[in-house]
């Protein structure tokens, strides 16, 4: 897009800017002064290309405060010890109020600082020494503090403790980095939160805890019996919950005091003074008591999210804020008219900004994977109420509108589409997509509710409360549905399934025997025998990951401890257990995240067709080419790339194999059990594992070489390999059942802004979405084919084979045509071809 001066930008109207698709400028011109100030004033915490923005520093006050109190309380039960340490942090961490801000709370001492979590993995902690630029000045002093902290926590972190009890062979294979990633501990985690329970207010939760403790103490006075003995352990857990809840209330009141002091002694602007007094009133009220209005409910919510992240690294943000806050919006804006729509939009926009502001240190390899965001914070919108009626409300619309005004890359939204969604709400989703936000992703609610019931037996009313637990997986926000810990640490690098089937379980990249010996494929008599080997490797790969996570999960209360999360978990409060204790009634909602999944189907199809059906090549020849990483076999490789059937083209030959693979996995998913004795279905998605694993997956029969990026995710076809266009992709994806054949399936699609412009664009998208739903797909997210995409296609044509220039009666593949014509098309597209 052309560079222009600020002056000419001003001269353009909002409509003109929209026609040029300069959405950031549109947002700048349409949002309030407050939102503009807050948006521009926020520190970007996501790392670009793995690097933090200049000025970002890690916060040393937080780990120091925590550790000094932790050491003082040494010897206490872990949850109690941690509660004391967290309370000490909350009482002493510096707090601040940003100008014009109305929502309080930050994790760390200053807005440019990010949390460095010290109690999870000492290996990660030590990465900090390699980090340039984010150690606070004076650097030498900071490094000394870090060294002291690392010396203490080394060997004491949750993962250090887990590593000691893992099966050594499993540990070595897991640590090879080849088969999966993840840390099976709540030191790097995320948790579902049930706001119907939390919004009772912390004082009510404290009263409930008090009651439980009194009741238990009375029981302990009764006749001694083995049944009484576990009660002794419950008392310190309840005490820990009390300590953090009380400290949380005090933390909020520190903001109230600061706001009041500012208002009374420093602020000269009467409007802001009034706002500060309202902030003070709000922070005195929540989280101690239930919220009464929108500002209080948003503030309560944000405090809870911040407090949870003082306790641990929560890398995702399962939430359904339109559902949680909708009633308060309705009361303030529609009924009592306490707020105008614009004022409400300011609060909602700030909610997005305050969330975007949260920063947590992650080692460089993880940052590279997250591409500019702190975590995968997918907020859930829309959907149905427990009774099945439409849950969309004015807050759903407000969030969509606010998202277009503040344009933050995190949080993003996932929209629960269902047949009763009103047109006005669907249009809001469409506008966000059209504005190039890349979200909301669209989720098929009826399919996913059925899926949630199918896999875990959640009652349907509970399944209907679902939120995105991380990027993709639904989880109910109910007493027994909430999932307290990241179970997706069973994240499988699925391309290894086919690779090990080809190499008798041996990993030619990391050079060790990984999977079982399933035989030399040169000796296999038919495709069935080959497929049998694939099944065995698939089972082995899932088993090793699931085993590790199960162990991590069951030991988590002993190795880590979560007093705050437990205090806001109804089942933990009721039973005096750690929220992560699987024995407290959790129904189970585990899944195996399947990275690099589609490579299996494409590789199996190539083998079946060329080696077994057509006998065009022998397995010997194929193995020779693969062992040479295709070097010296380019013609053969191109044959495998271009002429073997590829997933996503509505071609039954390969699509049937995909279905068969999924059904094998789903059978096995019911044989794997989580600590709650529930199933482990597969969820194909990639985050950015396709890049991470590029150097860890060897040559494959789909024509891929070691080092080539893997496909970009979930069940999306390989880039450039979906040659029949978007309808064929959807048709392929509709060939398996999105309820019973897996947990959820990520699908990326590109759409052209030209097609989506104007009313006709909305009608097109709506018809497309209706068909998507009819075909039973559970997910789709859209990237715009903008000029940046087309420029990328010019540079890297292989990856953009499917981009088609569509005008009436004509079509051509963009990458086929000459540079000059391409430039011409880019120019026309940007100007908005009709």
């Amino acid at each position: 897009m052309g560079q222009r001066t600020a002056q000419t930008e001003k001269a353009l109207s909002v409509d003109e800017l929209a026609n040029r698709r300069e959405w950031w400028s549109v947002a700048q011109k349409t949002r309030s002064k407050r939102l503009d100030y807050l948006r521009k004033g926020v520190w970007k915490k996501g790392a670009i290309g793995g690097n933090y923005a200049p000025g970002i520093k890690i916060d040393l006050t937080l780990p120091q405060l925590f550790t000094e109190k932790w050491q003082e309380q040494e010897g206490e039960p872990i949850m109690l010890q941690k509660a004391h340490a967290i309370a000490h942090v909350l009482d002493n961490i510096p707090i601040f109020i940003t100008d014009r801000s109305q929502i309080m709370g930050y994790i760390g001492s200053a807005p440019h600082q990010i949390v460095w979590h010290w109690q999870g993995i000492s290996m990660v902690n030590e990465e900090i020494y390699n980090e340039e630029g984010i150690i606070p000045e004076p650097e030498e002093e900071s490094l000394e503090i870090l060294a002291t902290l690392n010396d203490y926590w080394g060997g004491r972190t949750a993962v250090d403790k887990l590593a000691r009890i893992l099966d050594p062979e499993d540990a070595v294979k897991f640590m090879s980095g080849a088969i999966g990633w993840g840390t099976p501990t709540s030191a790097a985690t995320y948790s579902t939160k049930d706001f119907t329970y939390i919004f009772k207010g912390f004082e009510a939760l404290l009263a409930e805890i008090e009651e439980r403790m009194e009741e238990t103490e009375q029981k302990l006075q009764g006749n001694p019996s083995p049944q009484l003995l576990p009660l002794y352990d419950k008392l310190p857990r309840w005490e820990a919950m009390q300590i953090v809840l009380e400290a949380s209330i005090r933390y909020a009141k520190r903001y109230a005091r600061l706001a009041r002091t500012l208002a009374e002694h420093f602020e000269s602007d009467p409007t802001r003074k009034e706002e500060l007094l309202r902030i003070a009133e709000t922070c005195e009220r929540v989280p101690a008591k239930p919220p009464r209005n929108l500002q209080e409910s948003l503030q309560f919510d944000h405090f809870v999210q911040v407090l949870a992240r003082y306790e641990t690294f929560e890398g995702a943000w399962p939430h359904r804020p339109d559902y949680v806050h909708g009633p308060y919006y309705d009361k303030d804006v529609n009924q009592e008219k306490r707020l105008t729509k614009e004022e409400a939009l300011d609060l909602v926009g700030e909610h997005l900004i305050r969330t975007y502001e949260v920063g947590i240190f992650a080692p460089k390899w993880a940052r590279e994977g997250l591409q500019g965001i702190t975590g995968t914070w997918v907020w859930t919108m829309g959907g149905v109420k427990p009774d099945g009626s439409d849950a969309c409300n004015d807050m759903t619309i407000a969030y969509m509108q606010a998202a277009r005004l503040v344009r933050v890359s995190n949080p993003t939204f996932g929209f629960r589409w269902h047949p009763k969604v009103k047109d006005e709400v669907l249009r809001e989703c469409f506008e966000c997509i059209r504005h190039g936000l890349g979200y909301p992703s669209m989720r098929n609610d009826p399919v996913l509710v059925a899926n949630t019931v199918h896999w875990y037996g959640h009652p349907v009313e509970e399944a209907r409360t679902w939120v995105h637990q991380a990027c993709m997986s639904p989880c109910p926000t109910t007493k027994y549905g909430c999932q307290p810990m990241r179970m997706a640490s069973a994240t499988a690098n699925c391309a290894k399934m086919i690779e090990y089937a080809l190499h008798d379980g041996y990993d030619p990249v990391v050079n060790m025997q990984m999977g079982p010996k399933t035989g030399d494929p040169r000796q296999f008599k038919d495709f069935e025998e080959f497929f049998g080997a694939w099944v065995k490797q698939m089972e082995w790969l899932r088993n090793i990951l699931v085993r590790t996570v199960n162990l991590g999960r069951v030991k988590d209360p002993e190795f880590f401890g979560r007093p705050f999360l437990s205090a806001i978990y109804e089942r933990a409060v009721e039973t005096g257990t750690d929220a992560c204790d699987p024995s407290n009634g959790e129904r189970g909602n585990a899944w195996v995240t399947g990275f690099t999944w589609v490579e299996n189907a494409d590789s199996l199809a190539a083998i079946k067709k060329f080696v077994y059906d057509e006998k065009k090549y022998t397995m010997d020849q194929l193995m020779e080419a693969l062992n040479a990483n295709w070097v010296g076999y380019e013609e053969m490789r191109l044959d495998f790339v271009k002429n073997a059937p590829k997933w996503g083209n509505d071609d039954d030959y390969v699509d049937d194999l995909m279905v068969r693979c999924l059904r094998e996995v789903s059978r096995h998913a019911k044989e794997n059990k989580c600590p709650s004795n529930n199933n482990w279905p597969l969820l194909p998605e990639n985050v950015s594992g396709n890049i991470h694993y590029a150097n860890l997956v060897g040559a494959l029969p789909n024509g891929r070489r070691l080092g080539d990026a893997l496909y970009d995710g979930g069940i999306s076809p390989g880039p450039g390999l979906d040659k029949k266009g978007p309808t064929a992709v959807l048709k392929s994806c509709g060939k398996f059942d999105h309820v019973t054949d897996g947990r959820a399936f990520l699908l990326n699609q590109r759409l052209s802004p030209t097609q989506l412009s104007g009313e006709k664009g909305y009608q097109l998208w709506k018809a497309y979405m209706k068909t998507w739903a009819d075909l039973g797909l559970d997910h789709v997210q859209f990237n715009m084919v903008d000029d940046a995409t087309l420029r990328a296609a010019q540079k890297d044509p292989e990856k953009y084979q499917e981009v088609i220039v569509r005008v009436a009666g004509y079509s051509a593949h963009f990458v086929d045509i000459s540079r000059k014509t391409q430039d011409n098309i880019i120019q026309r597209t940007v100007q908005g071809l009709g």
């Binding site: 309808t727 006709k760 097109l764 009666g809």
Partner: protein
């Protein structure tokens, strides 16, 4: 029954050729020679070879494979890809289309244009997107080339589509005898009828023949049943003036039957590569693609008379007033 006809492409997710999501079936062969033709590969009624210079590695495999000495020796790929390069791989007048070179090419640089397909093969492919048609009022668009150049085949194709319950658009230039066109149009849902120029002399200048037959057939089609959508290409300095479109609007208004909508299709030169792949020169190559916003203005000439009119022919336009006729 004809065993099949030559098809250059079956394009799914077509969104600008009739209502909703459609699958376009491009038949090969056309009696007209419109100078702006953007599908030059559909003109000749026989198979052809594309040579895509960008994909060509200049490996020489085609040269070895050719029995007719109809392939030029490799030159440096960069040299061949230069914009101003006149190098072409195939020596067309020696080529007898044996296609051995296409088989030999590992890089997708040589491609066959034109596959012989039967009615059922086409319809099986078309039917794959039925769920999309159901939600958008879409279906099959028979296009070309010129469908009426394959009269028997097209009648069978339409009959087959009818029996499968598919919505059918026929995209025709109207240049054929009425006894051919009549039976074809009576069983389609919409005729996308090309109008290239109202003035017969100017028509002949750019298309090769006068427009009398085309206009005659247009009058005859009115009242036979299907909706008529006029498709008018807008070519710079030829059919892009306001005055001209006022006269077209008037002409259409006076027709003895209803025109459901008018799609103005701006000229573009994005097909120039197709000409180059066929080894043909294209005089309009250097004519700039039209800015659609200019065409937007012309739409008003039709709207003023109550017609529904578009730029680009989207299948998803929703008209508050659908024609006043």
């Amino acid at each position: 029954m004809e065993s099949g006809t030559l098809v250059t492409e079956i394009q799914r997710f077509a969104v600008n050729d009739g209502p909703g999501f459609r699958t376009n079936v491009f038949l090969k062969g056309c009696p007209l020679r419109c100078q702006w033709c953007h599908n030059p590969e559909t003109i000749a009624p026989h198979r052809e070879i594309y040579w895509k210079r960008r994909s060509c590695a200049q490996c020489g495999a085609c040269l070895d494979a050719c029995p007719n000495d109809a392939v030029n020796a490799p030159i440096h790929p960069f040299e061949a890809r230069r914009e101003e390069s006149t190098y072409h791989k195939i020596i067309r007048d020696r080529c007898d289309l044996c296609l051995k070179c296409v088989d030999a090419c590992q890089y997708g640089a040589l491609e066959i244009v034109g596959t012989r397909l039967s009615v059922n093969e086409i319809l099986d492919e078309v039917e794959r997107d039925r769920p999309f048609y159901d939600n958008s009022g879409g279906g099959m668009t028979i296009s070309g080339g010129e469908p009426t150049a394959h009269p028997e085949f097209v009648v069978q194709l339409i009959e087959g589509a009818r029996s499968r319950g598919l919505h059918i658009c026929l995209d025709t230039n109207g240049y054929c005898q009425w006894d051919i066109l009549g039976p074809i149009v009576q069983s389609v849902d919409i005729v996308l009828y090309d109008l290239k120029h109202l003035d017969s002399v100017k028509h002949a200048e750019m298309v090769g023949v006068g427009n009398e037959l085309v206009l005659d057939n247009l009058v005859k089609i009115l009242g036979t049943g299907p909706e008529i959508w006029i498709r008018h290409p807008i070519v710079p300095d030829y059919s892009d003036s306001w005055g001209y479109h006022l006269s077209v609007a008037e002409f259409l208004d006076r027709l003895p039957g209803r025109i459901q909508r008018i799609d103005l299709l701006p000229f573009h030169n994005w097909c120039q590569d197709k000409y180059s792949w066929l080894g043909r020169d294209w005089p309009l190559k250097t004519t700039e693609s039209m800015d659609p916003s200019i065409v937007e203005l012309l739409v008003e000439a039709y709207q003023a008379r109550g017609f529904a009119a578009t730029t680009g022919g989207s299948g998803f336009e929703e008209f508050v007033v659908r024609g006043g006729h």
